[in-house]
């Protein structure tokens, strides 16, 4: 009889605490805004889990706290508590019910993953290159950018590659995260649904400046997106026409920013992971094997495409990844840029 009263009080309290915990947590605004179609099922599942968390939190905390008050030792009472060793039926209940819950949650979780991974065969491709420590976005229209522009309401598939170590593509407002493994192309499908400016933040520790490996992600309307594409394409063509196939220092500077050169090579003479580019062209470079070489076009081209061939005195060997994917024209642009750094 005594127990029945205890249990009734606890049942009421569990219901109240569950409700209060859920309302309290929810009122905090747990998640960032939903900016992708994928974020909607994810937030739905997370909300379900917050409900479960609130319930089980109450289910343990209420009887625990209640016992601490109701079954506290009275002053002067040095006796023992009631002697009961267990209850097999109860143990089976609290093994089987959670087991069923877990399986149900698994089924829901699997279906939720399916919703997140729905493929639109029409999705436009954009190439993403991650490097220490930055992002480059290459559009099929033949230009590249430091900012990722995306159209609202259309699925895009990002073809993601890494130039050096593991990175991870994460825009918190998009929810979904994908690591990028060197030597592979990772597909990342996302459907932006909210116009605005966000940031992609590298989520996999990638070395010294990991914290700063961020780039703007800008979701615009389809019309604005098309306009941006046209503008960028025209701009790229204009630049190419202006130099008429000749090496161009401005393009070289852009490559320096977007390809990751700047992570290791300074422009102001400061010593970085690699040698500075200031005054490099035309100088005589001391190599680790004791010989020296003139920094001409041939040496610079080799250093970009096969960096392991020669090691500069005082710098670690094989520290630089190969940039052999750059075209001869791009390497010439870089060299042209280096020439301007007197």
């Amino acid at each position: 009889m005594q127990n029945a009263r205890h249990f009734a009080i606890i049942a009421v309290l569990v219901a109240v605490v569950t409700g209060l915990t859920y309302v309290g947590l929810n009122s905090l605004g747990l998640m960032p805004v939903e900016a992708s179609a994928q974020s909607i099922p994810i937030d739905w599942l997370f909300d379900l889990e917050v409900k479960l968390i609130s319930f089980f939190f109450a289910l343990i905390m209420v009887p625990l706290t209640y016992s601490l008050i109701a079954f506290r030792r009275k002053d002067g009472d040095d006796g023992d508590g009631q002697h009961f060793e267990g209850n097999t039926r109860l143990e089976i209940v609290w093994t089987v019910i959670p087991l069923i819950l877990v399986i149900v949650l698994g089924v829901i979780g699997g279906d939720n993953l399916r919703q997140v991974r729905i493929v639109d065969p029409q999705a436009a491709e954009i190439k993403v290159v991650a490097f220490q420590w930055g992002w480059r976005f290459e559009y099929p229209q033949g230009f590249s950018s430091n900012k990722l522009y995306l159209p609202e309401g259309k699925q895009v598939v990002l073809k993601m590659e890494s130039q050096d170590v593991l990175h991870s593509f994460w825009v918190p407002e998009f929810r979904v995260k994908q690591d990028i493994v060197p030597g592979r192309v990772e597909d990342y499908r996302i459907t932006p649904i909210r116009i605005g400016e966000y940031k992609v933040r590298c989520a996999e520790l990638c070395g010294t400046s990991h914290a700063y490996m961020e780039a703007p992600v800008i979701v615009v309307s389809q019309a604005d997106y098309d306009k941006w594409l046209t503008d960028q394409t025209a701009k790229a063509q204009l630049e190419a026409a202006a130099s008429a196939g000749k090496p161009d220092a401005t393009r070289g500077q852009k490559l320096y920013q977007e390809s990751g050169c700047k992570a290791c090579h300074s422009l102001d003479g400061a010593k970085g992971v690699g040698p500075t580019w200031k005054g490099l062209f035309g100088s005589t470079v001391e190599l680790a094997d004791g010989s020296s070489v003139a920094a001409d076009e041939a040496y610079l081209t080799e250093s970009v495409k096969a960096p392991g061939a020669k090691t500069v005195e005082g710098f670690p060997a094989n520290a630089m990844p190969s940039f052999s994917y750059l075209t001869d024209g791009q390497v010439a642009d870089l060299t042209e840029f280096i020439k301007t750094l007197r």
Partner: protein, 682 residues
């Protein structure tokens, strides 16, 4: 074994003084020789004083050789490291690796390069074990010489600083070392937490941040491994009525191999640090500074400690129990120790192996994980997590065992569903082996693998739930007392509950794609570690301190420790999870001020100092208690467990007769029942 003929304090100081004078004179002499003339200013030069002080420390340590085996071990480790490094340098020079351009002693470019350091580190660790004396008996046996079964320990506190075969001494050695590493790892956390208090970089560089953050992780892991080894070593033989562990020399070896490992781990900070986190993922770890290699070698040796310690514990628990102690009459802590040791024995190899493969990739150009040469970076993650996920159950199972062990004592009721609680430990250990790839949902592994690993991960909730329900049912209808150990037990239950409840969102794949690699994970993980290890570990220290020393820790300071640490800790992890959900990535030295996380991070930092202050109070309590003369040698907590049926502190070989188990371990409230009959022959 430790020499009994030790020097007097006076002669130790004499060595130090001689060291200083020698160093000072050598520095002045060198200075005079290089400049060709002597000037009195040389006597005040910094180099002279530095070299003098250095040699004074060496002299001091040398003088203490007879006192402390550990000092001799460190001497040997330094010597071994230098010998190994010189050897490799010499071989490379003889093989003409640099085309004869550099001389043998050109340290910057040739001598003491990475291969030399790695070989030196390995040889140094082995030399430590020789120097400290943990191989001496085995060496004698190999030569066919006999040794005595037990070696008498030096009386007093000095026995803790050399090789002892007594499981209680080794248990205290483990625990002490664990607390030292906990303090170092915690201090590192305070340094980088201070950096994070405000956005922007203020006090440390990016590289130092990465090194400290990475070392915090591994130091704490080693600290936890040593802490659980300490508690298990101290308690299990006593609880099962054994004189010692099954293999006392292996037991000492398992402890002492962890010391050079810890020193190597710390040395990585001086050798360039490393920036990969404790997970050491390639390709980043394949190109990190030299400190990375020291980290790999350190973990490799620490792994041996864990594997051999687990082997010893399993054999002891299976083979050395007192008469009448059937499997289901073992104290519940022994069950938990057994479950944890099964994981340590069988999974630790994988982390050692995965790090060893990266070490080989760096040293020998074997491209195991180099995609450009046919290797696979994801393979590393599988190997690594195959240990490192079960490892978290290694960390928490003994703690959960301590909770189950202490609850009945303070509630004065039997542990509810003893068999279910015992089996749930084995269940967690078993399922724990099948969940490793849930760390890799976003890694780019085969996509179809994610769903089965989601199911196996969710399954862990079932045996864990059994423990929670059983604990609450144990409290029900008891007469609950709340001295300091019980406070930490309750704190452990609540904090572990928070850790457990925040688990499922990481288990379901789609939500984890948002949560992984954020501060949410950091908060969740610290909840499980504090609830499953730190709180129960402190409960155990407060509870069994009288058993080890005959003195009881101060209740007032203990309560202050608890009531300062618990709210501080809750602020740390709840706020971490809060900003993690909103976009705070883990392992970043700086964050975008536009995110608005500054006040949250400031609060986390302040609360982290609160935890540190609470731990300092704990240390003050220990020192104060040890210095007081008030003895508590009886059954302080009115427990049924055999170790409390004899006076404290426990004598060298535990019980003077074998006891017999005649009842259930936790039958509190059953009149006339006892667990053990201490004098069965009478």
């Amino acid at each position: 074994m430790s020499k009994n003929s030790s020097r007097s304090v006076g002669s130790v100081l004499l060595f130090a003084a001689a060291g200083f004078i020698a160093g000072f004179l050598v520095a002045v002499l060198l200075h005079t020789l290089t400049t060709g003339k002597f000037e009195s200013a040389y006597l005040l030069d910094l180099p002279s004083w530095l070299l003098g002080t250095l040699l004074a420390v060496v002299g001091l340590l040398y003088g203490m050789l007879g006192y402390w085996g550990v000092v001799r071990g460190i001497f040997w480790q330094v010597g071994g490291t230098l010998a190994g490094a010189f050897f490799v340098t010499l071989v490379r020079w003889l093989l003409n690796f640099t085309g004869g351009k550099y001389s043998l002693f050109d340290l910057n470019t040739f001598g003491f390069t990475e291969p030399a350091w790695v070989f030196g580190a390995i040889l140094g660790a082995v030399a430590f074990l020789v120097g400290v004396g943990s191989l001496t008996d085995w060496y004698k046996w190999a030569k066919g010489e006999a040794t005595s079964e037990h070696h008498a320990d030096i009386p007093g506190w000095r026995k803790y600083f050399g090789v002892s075969l007594d499981h209680k001494v080794i248990g205290i050695q483990y625990t002490f070392t664990s607390l030292v590493l906990l303090s170092v790892g915690g201090t590192f956390a305070l340094v980088f937490r201070t950096e994070l208090a405000k956005s922007g970089l203020q006090i440390i560089s990016l590289q130092l941040y990465n090194s400290l953050m990475s070392l915090h992780g591994m130091l704490m892991i080693v600290s936890i491994l040593l802490g659980i080894a300490g508690v298990m070593n101290y308690l299990v033989p006593m609880m099962i009525g054994a004189q010692d562990m099954a293999f006392p020399r292996l037991n000492a070896f398992s402890f002492w191999i962890a010391i050079p490992a810890a020193l190597l781990l710390l040395s990585s900070l001086a050798l360039g640090g490393f920036d990969t986190g404790w997970t050491g993922y390639p390709p980043l770890s394949a190109r990190a500074p030299l400190g990375m290699q020291m980290f790999f070698v350190a973990v490799w040796f620490a792994g041996w400690s864990s594997i051999l310690g687990a082997l010893n514990l399993i054999v002891s628990a299976l083979r050395m129990r007192a008469r009448g102690m059937t499997a289901f009459r073992m104290p519940i802590f022994v069950w938990a120790s057994l479950a944890t040791s099964i994981i340590s024995l069988t999974a630790t190899q994988l982390i050692g192996l995965s790090f060893q493969l990266v070490l080989f990739q760096r040293l020998f150009g074997m491209p195991f994980f180099d995609a450009a040469k046919g290797g696979n970076p994801i393979l590393f993650q599988h190997l690594f997590w195959f240990y490192s996920h079960p490892a978290v159950y290694v960390f928490v199972l003994p703690g959960l065992g301590i909770i189950s062990e202490l609850l009945p004592v303070f509630v004065r009721k039997p542990l509810f569903g003893y068999k279910w609680v015992a089996m749930s430990s084995l269940g967690i250990a078993l399922v724990g082996f099948l969940v490793w790839a849930h760390h890799m949902f976003a890694s780019g592994m085969n996509e179809y693998l994610r769903v089965p690993f989601m199911y196996s991960t969710l399954l862990v909730a079932v045996p864990t739930g059994v423990k929670f329900f059983s604990w609450v049912a144990t409290l029900w209808g008891g007469k609950i007392r709340t001295p300091v150990p019980m406070l930490f037990v309750l704190g452990g239950i609540i904090v572990f509950l928070l850790g457990g409840l925040t688990g499922p969102p990481n288990a379901t794949v789609s939500t984890d794609l948002h949560l992984t690699d954020t501060y949410f994970i950091v908060g969740h993980f610290h909840d499980t570690m504090f609830g499953g290890y730190i709180f129960p570990f402190f409960a155990a220290l407060y509870y069994w301190f009288p058993k080890a020393t005959g003195k009881r820790l101060d209740e007032k300071l203990g309560k202050l420790h608890f009531w300062l640490m618990t709210p501080s800790f809750l602020i740390v992890t709840l706020f971490m999870m809060r900003i993690g959900l909103l976009g705070m990535r883990r392992r970043i030295a700086d964050y975008d001020p536009a995110l608005g996380f500054d006040p949250w991070n400031l609060a986390i930092t302040i609360a982290a100092f609160g935890i540190a202050a609470a731990v300092v109070i704990f240390f003050i309590n220990i020192i104060k208690t040890l210095r007081s003369s008030k003895m508590e040698t009886g059954n302080v907590w009115n427990s049924r467990s055999p170790e409390w049926q004899v006076p404290s502190p426990m004598p060298a070989h535990n019980y003077d007769h074998e006891f017999e188990v005649v009842g259930e371990p936790y039958d509190y409230g059953l009149p006339g029942s006892v667990y053990v009959n201490m004098h069965p022959e009478e």
